[in-house]
Symmetry: C2
Subunit: 128 residues, 2 copies
DNA sequence: TTGACTCGACTACAAATGTACGCCTATAGT
DNA sequence: ACTATAGGCGTACATTTGTAGTCGAGTCAA
């Protein structure tokens, strides 16, 4: 089986909304768009259709309305997308991305704590 | 001024090579392609031309050869690309991406140490 | 000086992407 | 029943992306 074709930006945006809602009709997705994101209803329809074609979403009929739900797990899409970006931007090396994030994006002290704990847990696992 | 148009994957791949080489002719870029990446010389030419058009690379003539060099700093491109991905995948929230990376990608104990140190430095800065 | 090469410029072109229109039918209100 | 709506479906279409071919001018070797 050919690997799933990748998601475009617009498609990803829409897919994310479906993930959040778990289950959504075109209209629901449309209405969930952030204010200011000004695209046509039918455009959303098209993205959802493509998402289904590409195998990322599942659609079932509720009466004559299509209700979309995730098919591929978000986790998977995230892994693929991030992986691709790491490859392209850092030649596959994750650490530089981490460094970039820590340096360039603002973290609250709270976030930093959480990260520290994550790292600790990792190390724990390793030593077990 | 309109914001620079984004880079496509193939373009990013090529741009990265130029960043590495600092300075490169089409042929040098072509030859620096990883084994197995089988695209035509003229294709590379096209990507470089587009990169120049989009304002990411600077080209100067060395005799009749074009030599490309970075114009926009890699740092900037990385920031934009990563930022966009964080928006798309995590609604702009960086922490989940960090978590994802820590959980899903393998880090060596050494990497973990480096990350810890990064975090420490951050906190130091904050408390100063 | 005649090939054999190499580049740069221009052109080409299919696929993917971003975005929307139009038509038909079911549905709800009157 | 009659009309104004809303949704589904198919279609459209410009732009961007991935990829390459052609042609003409310079360059090097014989």
């Amino acid at each position: 089986m050919p690997p799933r074709p990748g998601l475009s930006k617009a498609e990803l945006e829409i897919a994310r909304i479906v993930w959040e809602l778990k289950n959504a009709s075109v209209r629901q997705v449309f209405e969930a768009l952030p204010a200011g994101r000004d695209i046509d209803f039918t455009t959303v329809q098209t993205y959802l259709r493509r998402l289904e074609e590409k195998g990322y979403l599942h659609a079932k009929l509720d009466g004559r309305n299509r209700v979309y739900s995730p098919k591929v797990r978000p986790q998977t899409v995230i892994r693929e997308t991030v992986g691709e970006m790491v490859d392209l931007l850092f030649g596959g090396d994750t650490l530089p991305l981490m460094k970039h994030l820590v340096e360039e994006r603002r973290f609250s002290p709270d976030d930093i704590d959480q990260l520290r704990q994550l790292l600790d847990r990792l190390e724990g696992g390793r030593n077990e």
